[in-house]
């Protein structure tokens, strides 16, 4: 791939097809929604139609009369049996305000769509109908929708009892910001408004809980990214020990953060199954899925710059509208936005402050990029704006300010330690592969014809493998490698897959380390009863720590196999090699199965040189993380810093405001690549997220806080014709401490690509003086911006 040849002749570095891909392509993969138990019951949830209200009374008698209804439960009834939902990332750990979150509202609702009551019935249609027979007497109160309004002195409180609508305010940065700003030639201010958008996997969330009275134990089958940590959460909600709970995640139909836990429905279906004694399933509908938002942030970025484009200092006091409190980890995204400032730029004078605000919109959940995509948007739009103000080329200005490749490891002003990189090289490669200079010529020619082509770049630094102290967001993970008497291999790992292909990547690693054929390996994930304790899927970690730990375990098992093989062949261990399941010493050859069978069956003669079984469990904990605060109180929660540059080419129809993307490129540094075709798929998928974010995906509300976005006609995601051809190249600077130099490849790209799109549109419309820094760039908005710019600059001659 790229400039590099695969390290070995093995599987690592090869674009092998996924070992887990056969079932889905046959329609035979089992997703949670496909599971149906004998006695299966179905839950449907009554949700608040108001953004803020007191619940005066609930009358469930109408629902209870519906034939086929098994049970109706209100918040007050549920509270007798279950406790509040522990936070995935508790704001209190970071000194913030922490609200009590329940599966069903008690006496007050704080957002549209909040669960109020639930019906369990024999079929889903009956459950849905019966919900409409519940009568709730609400006393509607004034909601707070806007983050700035929420901070006004006379604002109603979203959370009863709080003295401010604020989870927390956190400063990030250091240096001498005042001096940087006073010595600058210019201060360029850019207001970047990022709208509320969401990940929306095509498979919605589903949970199916089975309580077994005989063993007083419970199994939750669910669309779950992090089974072990969820088990802990369920144990607290249900007042059950963890060893009585099993969480099993079957095949998952995309996650992107949405299926990280804290959702009220997880504990709710478990409680209902326990209460009723039958399996209870809940399937999220699309309207419910669209309630979960993220990323609504208002940035006010000030760059203190010299006239030749050096950034001396950066100030950004930003507001995040995180919606109503939620136990999901979404709110933490806003924190990571600040922590990742100033991204790839060598700026040490930094004054960044987050205000994480609560409002009466529904809460957030984690979304691909986890706040780092908003850092990229805010920075990259600001740099383009500054370059235009200064009359500089936006690429030159970036390169001038990039951290240089000989400056790693690099201490950022927020306390991060960047592991490695060649940002200029990455940027130049992205430009080369798309033919940047050629597009500039095409742009000029097009303008002469009255067509507006735009060229935009965006850079994203995406720290990966994150771990937060005092939370179950851990930096390490573990895997077990087992080789059976027939020589077949089973890997059990604590990491999970949302469908991204990491089981195949992990299997490729083990095939090479163990010396077996890839098709003899099976990977088991997502089950708290069979897999070693692990932290699942998040933060681009699965191949880093799942692969790293599986490699260590494989090496241990291989040593055992080699020892017994040597004993069988009566040769020295050092002369024995094993590849593709063939064991060789000089001119002697022996098959893997014969050796494995001997390991298990001849423990008192040739097998006595090892302790069977052929099994090892190992843990991999990446370095560079620093959880002990430095003298400024800062931590570094990330072991690796993937990065990428994006170039977008667009054409704007100035009569309609419609933007068409013509071409895209990305140069990507994710460390060494295990499987190029799968990494490419991750990069292209993230770019599509960025295109959707920049162009159309938007969750909107009316003035009373009722959500208007209800389906895929309202929430417009890119379709195949909206995504232009994407050219990809790698420019890898391997991580110095991770196994194989991996940096993580799944999460990066949403912000950098969205920024490239926005910058390309602004570039296309530069003859009009248009500079849009509020997303999304829908056609009406682009058209309006053109009209306003024309009005503001009537003297400007445009074609």
């Amino acid at each position: 791939m790229g400039d590099q040849k695969p390290e070995t002749e093995g599987y690592v570095g090869q674009s092998v097809r996924t070992i887990e891909g056969r079932a889905p392509i046959m329609g035979k993969a089992t997703y949670t929604n496909d599971i149906n138990f004998p006695g299966q019951l179905h839950a449907h949830i009554l949700r608040s139609p108001h953004a803020a209200a007191n619940i005066k009374s609930i009358d469930t008698s109408g629902a209870e009369k519906v034939a086929g209804v098994v049970r109706v439960v209100t918040g007050a009834q549920a509270a007798e049996y279950i406790d509040p939902i522990p936070h995935y990332i508790d704001p209190a750990v970071f000194g913030g305000r922490s609200a009590t979150i329940r599966c069903l509202a008690l006496d007050h609702v704080w957002c549209f769509g909040q669960p109020v009551a639930v019906v369990v019935a024999e079929d889903k249609r009956t459950a849905r109908y019966a919900v409409s027979r519940i009568v709730v007497d609400y006393e509607v109160t004034t909601p707070v929708i806007d983050a700035e309004d929420a901070l006004k002195d006379d604002s109603p409180m979203v959370v009863p009892g709080w003295d401010a609508n604020m989870i927390m305010q956190i400063p990030f940065g250091g240096g001498d910001v005042a001096k940087a700003f006073s010595s600058a030639d210019r201060v360029v201010k850019t207001d970047v408004k990022v709208h509320r958008f969401s990940t929306q996997p095509i498979e919605t969330r589903t949970y199916n809980a089975v309580y077994e009275a005989g063993t007083e134990s419970l199994t939750l089958y669910g669309t779950v990214q992090n089974p072990h940590p969820l088990r802990h959460v369920l144990s607290k909600i249900l007042r059950m020990p963890e060893n009585k709970i099993r969480v099993h995640a079957p095949v998952i139909g995309g996650a992107f953060g949405m299926k990280m836990h804290g959702h009220p429905e997880e504990g709710l279906v478990c409680f209902l199954s326990k209460l009723i004694g039958q399996p209870v399933q809940w399937v999220e509908d699309r309207e419910e899925c669209l309630l979960i938002g993220a990323r609504e942030q208002v940035h006010s970025v000030e760059l203190a710059v010299t006239k030749d484009g050096m950034i001396l200092g950066l100030r950004d006091h930003y507001l995040a509208n995180t919606g109503a409190p939620s136990s999901c980890p979404g709110w933490g995204m806003a924190m990571l936005t600040g922590l990742t400032m100033p991204g790839p730029y060598s700026v040490q004078n930094l004054d960044v402050q987050l205000s994480a605000v609560v409002t009466n919109k529904p809460g957030w959940n984690a979304s691909r990029g986890y706040g780092k995509e908003v850092t990229a948007l805010a920075l990259e739009l600001s740099v383009d704006n500054a370059a235009r103000e200064l009359g500089l080329d936006p690429v030159d200005m970036r390169i001038k300010n990039f951290i240089k490749k000989d400056q790693f490891p690099y201490d950022s002003p927020t306390g991060l330690i960047y592991d490695s990189g060649d940002y200029e090289g990455v940027m130049r490669k992205a430009m080369d592969i798309i033919g940047y200079e050629d597009w500039k010529k095409q742009q000029e020619e097009a303008r002469e014809e009255g067509r507006y082509i735009g060229i935009g770049v965006g850079f994203e630094l995406t720290p990966e493998g994150g771990t937060l102290p005092g939370t179950l967001v851990a930096g390490y993970d573990s895997s077990t490698v087992r080789v059976a008497p027939d020589g077949s291999v089973r890997i059990l790992t604590g990491v999970t897959t949302p469908g991204s292909g990491n089981p195949t990547g992990i299997a490729q690693i083990v095939a090479d380390e163990l010396g077996v054929r890839l098709d003899t390996i099976e990977v088991v994930q997502g089950d708290t009863t069979t897999c070693p304790y692990g932290f699942g899927n998040s933060s681009g970690r699965s191949t880093i720590v799942g692969g790293g730990s599986a490699a260590k375990a494989a090496i241990e098992v291989r040593e055992k196999i080699i020892k017994v093989a040597a004993a069988l062949m009566e040769v020295g261990e050092s002369s024995v090699t094993m590849k593709d399941g063939i064991i060789v010493s000089g001119d002697k050859t022996i098959g893997l199965e014969e050796v494995c069978y001997a390991c298990y069956t001849r423990a008192y003669d040739v097998g006595s040189v090892i302790d069977p079984p052929l099994e090892a469990t190992a843990m991999f904990k990446p370095g560079l993380v620093r959880h002990t605060p430095n003298e400024k109180g800062q931590i570094n929660p990330y072991p690796s810093y993937s990065n990428a540059a994006y170039v977008a080419i667009s054409e704007v129809d100035v009569n309609t405001g419609e933007v068409k993307l013509l071409k895209f490129s990305v140069a990507h540094d994710c460390g060494n690549v295990i499987n190029p075709i799968l990494v490419e798929g991750q990069a292209c998928g993230a770019i599509m997220f960025g295109i959707g974010a920049a162009m159309a995906e938007n969750i909107t509300f009316d003035e009373n806080g009722r959500q208007l976005t209800k389906n895929f006609m309202d929430y417009v995601m890119p379709r195949i014709g909206d995504v232009p051809p994407i050219t990809l190249a790698h420019h890898d600077s391997p991580n110095p401490v991770n196994y194989k130099g991996l940096k993580g490849a799944g999460e990066a790209g949403v912000g950098g690509s969205a920024a490239a799109v926005v910058n390309s549109v602004n570039n296309a419309l530069s003859p009009f003086g248009v500079m849009m820094t509020e997303t999304p760039l829908t056609a009406p908005r682009v058209w309006s911006a053109i009209q306003e710019a024309k009005k503001a600059q009537p003297q400007r001659k445009v074609a």
Partner: protein, 170 residues
Amino acid sequence: MEDMLEDTVLVNLRINGRLHELEIPAHKSLLDLLREDLNLTGTHMGCMTGHCGACTVSIDGRVAKSCITLAATLGRAKITTIEGLTQDDGTLSALQQAFWDNAGFQCGYCAPGMLLCTVELLETNPDPSDADIDTALAGNLCRCTGYQSIRRAVKAAITTTKEGAPQAAE
């Protein structure tokens, strides 16, 4: 339902080559019939409004969104689901193989729509342009791939089909 209080329609359907005679409640979607009554769970629920395409099936040779199709209206229809693309012995069709080989899917949830729409495309247009591919798949959302590998997979399927690889099973 046991009391037959619901309106039902007696319907003959051929699904993946197998004939079914079913008394179907009038309100029941084809999606629910396939998934709940016939255990054909390869057809997926994504939105229930006909926008995402995860529930796509082929009805009499034309793709349809099964979530917004009433099963009781399909008397004498010939339906193919994703399960019907694989041969009885487990051999994948050239199209399935091309999608697998080219990473034309990640999580696989949208695969029913991508595959069945491509089947219809290639039956009517054996040599489609990029624009033809985009049009044929416009009704199907994929949230994982960014569509690049889907285009590649479709083109690979065209190449293998031209070279005479086995066609999709009926």
